[in-house]
Amino acid sequence: MMGRSESGSALTETLVGLLALLPAFWAVDYLGRLHDMDRYAAMTARYNAWQTLSGPANERVTHSPLWHFQGEDLVAPTNALEVKALTPNTSAAAISTGVAVETIAYGRYLPGAVSIGGLSSGMLELPPEQRPTYNASISARPRLPGHSHNQPIPLRATATLSPGEWSAYTDEIYRTRTNQLVASEPVATLSQPASWLARFGIFEEGRYAQSTQFVPPSRITPR
């Protein structure tokens, strides 16, 4: 049996202990939600980067129901959720990969006058190499001691990818692109009189000059 001086000490100690423990439990809950927001930022950046494989990035962000704490929205009201394209998926953001490769791949550094020779001024007209980069950021409301000056906690993540294979998905695409590097038009134009002359019996072999498709189908491969 405890003495008078000791009566109630267990209760007091328990209350004191809970005073320390309750904020800890409270902090676990709060930090868990912050981590969820942090992971969400990383995932949003990742999804936006990978989305560029099939088209323009989807910059939409959602608001998770987990991001409420004690009846209050954890996302800071100003500049709350944002996805920004740091390097947009445009030709201006192309990676520099060398003069010769860029000239053949998409006609950079090439004068438009080459089209006179039957070539495409865009050469193969392939999409420029890029690294579309996306930054997702969420500003969380501070609730832990030390952040009481009300500055939002920035949770940021960046993701990027360098997609594009320059592959031809059909034989037609392969031939169209390759023909853009082949000066067959001048030969076809110059050979026009052959078809007219071939109407005369003694020049009949001129009809063979009409074949000016110099790029064979892709089934023709080296043996």
Binding site: V101, E205, R219, P222
Partner: protein, 401 residues
């Protein structure tokens, strides 16, 4: 009444222990959550790096394929033009003879003279333009060869690692890709397996693409050139001839026909085009002629040439370099063509946890389209750097055999 001193303060130690445990749990939970968040960044970065590295590689292989085909096609276009000018010179020569013979026949003489003038104008124009055309093709071939050389250099392991590192470091500046030192932190036996994978990847890349001169490749280029001409019947007839530096031998050509008039006169037209078997595949030469022979009471006389024409790429352009080099798969009997690009992304930052790593794998494969009916290669066709069907994909990494 006795007080039990041992009971005093019993709650406090328990509470202190609970507080300590609670705070520790909080600390550990925070660390684990942080680590998981960072690990997901490492995984994202590794996937993106491997995928980007494979796409980078596929882009260069496809560029080589387009340019190989384009150089081949431009080379054939030069041959076509040389044959055409040879033939047009023969036509001009023949029409001049006809005009001379028929000059005394009213109307016909005028018509043949006009026709000869038209052919001569067309020939003059073609000859003048052929100089610019052939030299232009040489410049274009030089540019395409330079792009192939540049693309080959960009396929060195260090360059691909740099591409992957740049991608990974956009996720987190402290990430490293395929760095030997960082891999030391990976536990055995994974460390040895990953080091082995990296060695295979580097060796494969160094031995994947080669280049050759057309005349020094055991006939590989000659075969694809012949196939590219022969698939089209008309083109095949137009460019038929030998592979020789010598003047074309008429009997080998395809621009030929013959006829007989009442069994007394024989006519024949012959025309051939030679491809030079030199290392650069340049030097198209072409010749055409029209001959006649008559029969007298002693038998057939020898052939007499009525009209002829000749042309060569070197004479038309001053010089035709042809194709200096082209790229091909180093192992031409490679039936698979698969090239694996691993990305071992490690993070050895100052912030805990000390080391995180993730291993992602992408591969480059040769995959012809199925959407082009009879024009595409079959499924079992060998991979080649003459078709731009190189693709990239992420695959599940198999670390341990």
């Amino acid at each position: 009444m006795s007080t039990t001193n041992g009971a005093s303060g019993q709650v406090l130690p328990v509470l202190l222990a609970m507080i300590a445990m609670g705070l520790s749990a909080l600390f550990v939970a925070h660390r684990v959550s942080n680590a998981l968040g960072q690990q997901s960044v490492v995984v994202n970065a590794a996937d993106a790096a491997a995928y980007s590295g494979a796409h980078w590689t596929a882009r260069r292989l496809n560029l080589m394929a387009y340019t190989n085909r384009a150089m081949l096609a431009n080379h054939i276009a030069v041959g076509h033009l040389v044959a055409y000018i040879s033939w047009l010179r023969y036509v001009e020569n023949a029409s001049a003879r006809l005009a001379a013979i028929s000059s005394f026949i009213p109307y016909v003489g005028t018509a043949t003279r006009v026709a000869n003038r038209a052919v001569r104008t067309s020939l003059g124009l073609s000859e003048r333009l052929s100089w610019g055309f052939i030299n232009g093709v040489d410049v274009l071939h030089g540019l395409m060869s330079a792009s192939q050389l540049q693309a080959r250099r960009q396929l060195l392991p260090d360059r691909i690692d740099t591409v992957m590192r740049k991608v990974a470091q956009r996720h987190d500046g402290e990430l490293r890709v395929n760095r030997g030192g960082a891999i030391q932190s990976v536990p055995q036996p994974y460390q040895a397996a990953i080091a082995g994978k990296l060695l295979v990847y580097r060796t494969d890349l160094l031995n994947y693409v080669g280049s050759d001169k057309p005349g020094r490749d055991r006939g590989y280029f000659r075969r694809i050139l012949s196939q590219s001409i022969d698939y089209d019947h008309n083109l095949s007839r137009w460019l038929q001839g030998r592979r020789s530096h010598a003047a074309p031998r008429f009997g080998t050509g395809g621009r030929s026909w013959s006829d007989s008039i009442l069994g007394l006169v024989k006519l024949r037209k012959q025309g051939a085009t030679n491809q030079a078997p030199s290392p650069d595949a340049g030097g198209w030469r072409s010749a055409d002629r029209f001959q006649i022979r008559e029969r007298d009471f002693l038998g057939w006389e020898s052939w007499g040439t009525l009209a002829q024409g000749r042309a060569s790429a070197n004479r038309l352009a001053g010089n035709y370099d042809g194709i200096d080099r082209y790229t091909h798969l180093a192992q031409r009997d490679n039936t698979d063509g698969r090239l694996q690009i691993p990305a071992i992304v490690t993070r050895s930052g100052t912030k805990p946890p000390a080391t995180q790593a993730h291993y992602s794998m992408a591969e480059v494969i040769y995959q012809p389209s199925k959407a082009c009916e009879d024009n595409c290669p079959t499924d079992n066709a060998k991979p080649t750097l003459f078709n731009p069907y190189w693709r990239a994909r992420l695959v599940a990494p198999e670390i341990l055999p």
